[in-house]
Amino acid sequence: MLAKRIIPCLDVTAGRVVKGVSFVELRDAGDPVEIARRYDEQGADELTFLDITASSDDRGIIFRIIEQVAEQVFIPLTVGGGVREVQDVRNLLNAGADKVSINTSAVVNPQLVADASARYGSQCIVVAIDAKQTAPNKWEVFTHGGRKATGLDAVEWAKKMQNMGAGEILLTSMDKDGQKSGFDLALTRAVTDALEIPVIASGGVGNLQHLADGVKLGGADAVLAASIFHFGEYTVQQAKQFMAQQGIEVRL
């Protein structure tokens, strides 16, 4: 049976892994290549790197990091942040990424998702959605690292992205991100039920029960977490064992 995936997420800026609370207050977590290797050893199913570098001068750093990780770690690598055109997708794939995550640019130019998917296959195009609750069972898509409202409904937007060729949705609750109080399960459930493609739940994991809830209650195909792994609270292996005890199929 297909296993539910656990995906540690590495937010990278200026060559370091950092972690913020609700998209601000960054805290240093270490060297990305070292951290990637550690999670691979712990049995991570995939790794996601988000380049949150503000300055375009530092754009080259993520390529060197991905190149180094891809030489040592043989699990799928997703890279996102600053992807604006098909050429950016190509460059990241050439550096060793297996999937490229597109967020703001998908909103600015939805055709990018269609073009990149047609060129490289939907299997390598992840659309990242940052969503904020605006009313009961209503979530709005935000872009530019959560700073800009779009007026788009998150569930409708996810469906549109699926239809334009996304192979997977990385769904982050901005309300929950960094709060350590668990995923926005209603959001996760609403999006996963509306789609045929896999959904990765993100934002809010503070303990292992939260990961299990994302799968069992949220219906997520994969769960993504950062700080619970970065700061040594839990290993990926512990997370998997916990999920297995809850009857969730995982790769042990």
Binding site: A3, R5, D98, G167, P198
Partner: protein, 239 residues
């Protein structure tokens, strides 16, 4: 002449395959190449591929690689197909109604949408993630695949005596490999089937015949089990 040619026809990311092969064969001369002459003279050939079947076939044909692929398979060179490199070996793909290379008879079909697992959760397409690879022929293969007997040269019956294919050496039965695909192969000849996986019904995820081995999953992204399979391929000397 290179030791290992990774066939490049412009579809998808070959860097991962190259890196993984380099990891298991650090001293080998590896070429990622679309040149027929280099492929024809290589010691062994890896045929990966990602993307949609119509694009893959168009690129393979426009680069004149269809001929050399058939030739190296026929000549007995060790050949490993991965993902699209498995699918396009068959006659026809439902994806874009595409005629393929026809090395084997059989079809490539799409996973039905709207299926659920035993817990009632919707099964997503693409089938993406780590799934178990079960060696031998699953007796419950879906319609269209007649699997009544195992071939004398491949697979192993439960408790049987047929030697297992060398590419599985050192890999546990039902080990998990990383998959990402929306289509699967349905070989007409059950004797080709090396392994199946379930989603939710069994589908064929590995085939073999003589010097050819081809898998639906991505060994280059399947951690230790995947590297082991690649290493077995590098060391494989089919009779």
């Amino acid at each position: 002449m290179v030791d290992i040619a990774v066939v490049d026809y412009g579809m998808g990311n070959l860097r991962s395959v190259q890196q993984a092969v380099r990891k298991v064969a650090p001293n080998a001369d590896i070429a990622v190449t679309g040149e027929a002459a280099v492929i024809a003279s290589a010691g062994r050939v890896i045929f990966p591929g990602q993307g949609a079947a119509p694009d893959c076939m168009r690129e393979i044909r426009s680069r004149g690689l269809d001929r050399v692929i058939s030739d190296v398979i026929r000549e007995g060179k060790p050949f490993l197909g991965i993902c699209m490199g498995l699918q396009v070996l068959f006659e026809h793909s439902e994806e874009g109604d595409t005629p393929c290379l026809g090395v084997f008879s059989g079809q490539v079909r799409r996973f039905a949408s709207g299926l659920s697992d035993a817990q009632g959760n919707k099964l997503k397409v693409p089938h993406m993630g780590w799934n178990q690879v079960h060696r031998g022929v699953n007796p419950q293969l879906p319609q269209g695949v007649e699997t009544v007997a195992l071939p004398p040269t491949g697979g192993k019956l439960e408790g049987g005596t047929t030697p297992e294919h060398p590419l599985w050496s050192g890999i546990e039965q039902d080990a998990r490999f990383y998959f990402v695909h929306s289509y699967y192969v349905e070989p007409r000849d059950p004797g080709l089937v090396q392994a199946t996986s379930d989603y939710p019904r069994p589908f064929v995820c590995a085939v073999a015949k003589e010097n050819l081995f081809a898998v639906q999953f991505h060994p280059e992204k399947s951690a230790a089990a995947g590297l082991k399979l690649l290493q077995n391929f590098i060391n494989w000397n089919p009779a």
